[in-house]
């Protein structure tokens, strides 16, 4: 009965049943962060990408990846924040090479973002632009999970209460330098692990169990 219900919910959420049934602590994770030229998902260009892999409560430092992505045209003020200068960006990898590498994780890993909507819609667009086919991905959004938790206590969220650094602080994680793609990816992965611990303790839970938080979802990477 429960399985049927889960399946219905899964259909509703577009999540295949086998994925929803997966135990969280057994699924390889990939936390990803993109640095962008703007926050407008229709126009933003990717300037750098960072990611790191994890499994359960362990983060594998050997898996850290960071690449500056080559881009052309002018960009808004964002590179100033991220400490990148034109020179770095011109010398970076082509976005195609990074995407080819990233798509190999699509089927195997659960992707982890802080604010998945922004990063995923941009990834969808660049995958489409470069003509690279990426399988659909299952992902966790630590921002949504934080909002789910905060809403238990606040009707209206206090300003800035769900930023990556504030969420980390709330769970007692150490302060981390922000605005570098790899650092933010690492910070996000740690945040997820701490959130999962705070929420579920040691219970062996499945992704389907988190659907009510809206923090877990499944998305096709083709542009609609």
């Amino acid at each position: 009965m429960l399985a049927v219900l889960r399946q219905c919910l899964g259909l509703f959420n577009r999540i295949p049943a086998d994925k929803a049934e997966r135990l969280i602590h057994e699924a390889p994770l990939l936390a990803i962060d993109l640095e962008l030229t703007s926050l407008d998902s229709a126009k933003a260009k990717v300037t750098s990408v960072g990611w790191v892999e994890g499994l359960g409560n362990t983060i594998n430092l050997d898996s850290c990846f960071y690449s500056v992505v080559r881009a052309s045209g002018d960009f808004a003020q964002s590179p100033v924040i991220h400490g990148l200068i034109q020179e770095h960006i011109a010398g970076g990898k082509h976005v195609r090479d990074v995407l080819k590498r990233l798509k190999t994780y699509a089927d195997t890993h659960i992707w982890v973002f802080h604010n998945a909507n922004l990063d995923l819609s941009i990834l969808q667009r660049v995958f489409a632009d470069t003509g690279i086919h990426c399988p659909p991905v299952m992902f966790i959004d630590t921002l949504k999970l934080a909002v789910y938790q905060l809403k238990k206590y606040h009707q209206i969220l206090p300003p800035n209460s769900a930023t990556l650094s504030v969420c980390r602080q709330r769970l007692g994680l150490p302060a981390a330098p922000a605005h570098n793609a790899l650092d933010d990816a690492m910070a996000t992965l740690q945040l997820w692990i701490a959130q999962n611990h705070a929420l579920n303790g040691s219970k062996a839970i499945r992704f389907g169990d988190l659907l009510h938080t809206r923090a877990v979802d499944y998305r096709k990477m083709e542009k609609k």
Binding site: G56, N57, L61, G172, P174, M186, Q190, H197, S202
Partner: protein, 610 residues
């Protein structure tokens, strides 16, 4: 491509000894590391998965047992699991998670590679030794002598390679305005050239100044590594009759600096004992006050290591004694000698020799007999002069008027004995509050025999059981600042929310305990540590408990001295947020031990057995 998040490198760069690693060695170490989020629920699995690794805590709090040494309370920046890697013995590892957090796990291979570096090797072997020696006692007599050379040397030493010419070497010395030059081969110290060598071996013998400098240098000169002390340096310089002593790195023998005789003199001047010497030379009130006012500054500059704080109270009390004796001498120089015998008796912290910067003066006069009118006037004027003089020297006047200038505290021997009998007759809580301070007494100036006479008369009176029982019960009224759930209870109504008055809540309680046991045994020494050490067998306090109280007392004393010197205050309200995580653990343990000792004393003295 090997990349690491900045948060990882930032953290490792602040974690001794890995802060010493080059960037390449650092990424080599971190590359094969993993970062785990260790919680009570997952620790069994994670520790098994990471068995045989070195753990470094980034945040969280853990109680760890990883060797035969017993449980250690660890937090940010602490390591565990290294014992088995060093000893090659697999000790069972048990961890209790007090607060979950991130922990780095380094592989055994990466750790062994890092151990090839002397700095890393020293660190881990050193932290083992520290963990073993849990004793707080260090009877250093003068702080400056025990300063590590590392803290004394300033700037890189002037040096030259052994192959430069004598002329070039002399030029380097001239340009740097130094009288000695260190000579190196492959950056290692191999010799030294001094002005005297240039005079005796070059000028006097008309040596060719284009020859390499190693032809005239003193080979394999005396040298010390950076962790030796000023004391070692002085001893070596005296023994060899040399004025320049190179300091080299313990492992690489690379020159780090030079100690010269003028450094020794300068440090001698910058030392608290030096100030005492100077105080003793002061010939008038002006000089005495000028020197006295420098004392806080001297303490702030020269008491750095925790061990220094152990003797700071003693040094300060000795200085106050000297000031007192000087002031009495100045007065008598003007007004003639005292008409009858007297003792200048000091009470409380000065008697116990544990004064701090905030201690005020507590003193009184003991007179041989009842003074007549003229004699009374002499002592009244003397007391006023000395008390005001001490105040001018920075030892505050006593708010409670426990000063010789108060006529009630100028007593004849007979009156003083009668006073003690009065205390014993009615030891009400209010009375104890009043007379407790007089039970720690010491003769700082005047006639010592007179004071000893009083002590002999008083000892049997103060030994009475009912009296001691009242003292023990009174001391039990102070409760240690721990809640039922072992959380700190803070003082209310102060600017900082997390302060504990270590004097009132802890140090004074131990002082009281030591006093009660000392009175019961008829001991007359006033210092808390001396009392604890001198308690005879059967005094009611076991040797182990006495040693434990001594260690706790020293620990608390260190914390309050550090608080006063670093925050430039004279109170004892130590902020818990200023303590390291280990110190918080230790402080809680100390409070619990004090509480047990308080109850033990009540049981011992008023257990209804008498």
């Amino acid at each position: 491509m090997s990349v690491l998040p900045q948060q990882v490198t930032d953290f490792l760069k602040t974690s001794a000894p890995f802060d010493q690693l080059s960037d390449a060695d650092m990424s080599d170490l971190a590359k094969y590391a993993s970062l785990i989020y260790l919680t009570e629920e997952n620790q069994d699995t994670l520790l098994e998965e990471n068995a045989g690794r070195l753990f470094l805590i980034q945040n969280g709090q853990f109680s760890v047992r990883d060797s035969e040494e017993g449980e250690r309370h660890l937090s940010e920046g602490d390591y565990f699991g290294y014992h088995q890697l060093i000893d090659n013995i697999s000790y069972p590892l048990t961890v209790k998670v007090d607060k979950p957090g991130l922990v780095f796990c380094f592989t055994a291979e990466a750790f062994k590679r890092a151990m090839d570096l002397p700095a890393v090797n020293d660190f881990f072997h050193g932290s083992r030794a520290d963990a073993l020696q849990n004793q707080a006692v260090n009877d250093s007599n003068s702080m400056w002598l025990y300063k590590a050379l590392n803290d004394v040397i300033a700037g890189t030493p002037v040096q030259a390679s052994q192959n430069v010419t004598i002329r070039d070497a002399a030029n380097v010395m001239a340009q740097n305005k130094v009288s000695s030059l260190l000579i190196t081969r492959n950056d290692k110290l191999v010799g030294i050239v001094t002005d005297r060598d240039l005079r005796n071996r070059v000028v006097a013998k008309a040596t060719d100044i284009t020859l390499p400098v190693h032809t005239i240098m003193t080979r394999t000169p005396a040298m010390l590594h950076q962790y030796r002390t000023m004391f070692d340096a002085m001893a070596l310089m005296t023994e060899r009759n040399i004025h320049h002593l190179p300091v080299v790195d313990r492992n690489s023998r690379k020159p780090l600096g030079m100690i010269t005789t003028s450094d020794v003199v300068r440090h001698q001047r910058g030392n608290v004992l030096f100030i005492i010497g100077e105080l003793a030379k002061a010939d008038n009130l002006y000089e005495l006050t000028r020197l006295s006012w420098q004392m806080p500054h001297y303490f702030a500059t020269h008491a750095k290591r925790l061990g220094d704080f152990d003797i700071a109270g003693k040094v300060l009390s000795q200085a106050t004694d000297i000031m007192t004796r000087k002031l009495i001498y100045f007065y008598q120089r003007e007004h003639g000698p005292a008409p009858i015998k007297f003792s200048w008796v000091v009470y409380g912290s000065q008697a116990r020799e544990d004064q701090t910067m905030g201690s005020d003066q507590d003193n009184g006069l003991l007179l041989e007999t009842m003074p007549d009118h003229a004699e009374g006037q002499y002592f009244e004027a003397l007391s006023a002069y000395v008390c005001n003089g001490l105040a001018k020297c920075g030892i505050k006047l006593c708010d409670g008027n426990i000063m010789a200038s108060n006529p009630a505290l100028r007593l004849s021997l007979k009156q003083a004995e009668g006073e003690a009998k009065e205390w014993v007759r009615q030891p009400t809580p209010a009375a104890i509050m009043h007379f407790n301070i007089f039970l720690d007494a010491r003769c700082a100036a005047g006639d010592t025999d007179l004071f000893h006479c009083l002590q002999r008369l008083r000892a049997p009176v103060l030994k009475q059981k009912i009296f001691l029982a009242a003292l023990a019960r009174h001391n039990n009224d102070v409760s240690v600042p721990l809640s039922m759930f072992q959380k700190f209870v803070y003082e209310k109504g102060y600017e900082h929310k997390d302060t504990i008055d270590l004097k009132v809540k802890a140090v004074a309680v131990i002082n009281n305990l030591a006093r009660i046991y000392a009175l019961a045994s008829g001991l007359t020494v006033p210092a808390t540590l001396s009392r604890l050490a001198a308690l005879p067998a059967g005094a009611g306090l076991s040797t182990k408990d006495a040693q434990n109280l001594r260690d706790i007392w020293l620990f608390l004393n260190r914390l309050r001295w550090r608080h006063q010197l670093t925050n430039k205050v004279t109170d004892n309200r130590v902020r818990v947020s200023d303590l390291s995580s280990i110190e918080k653990h230790q402080l809680k343990a100390a409070f619990k031990a004090i509480e047990r000792a308080q109850q033990g004393a009540v049981m011992h003295f008023s257990g209804g057995m008498s």
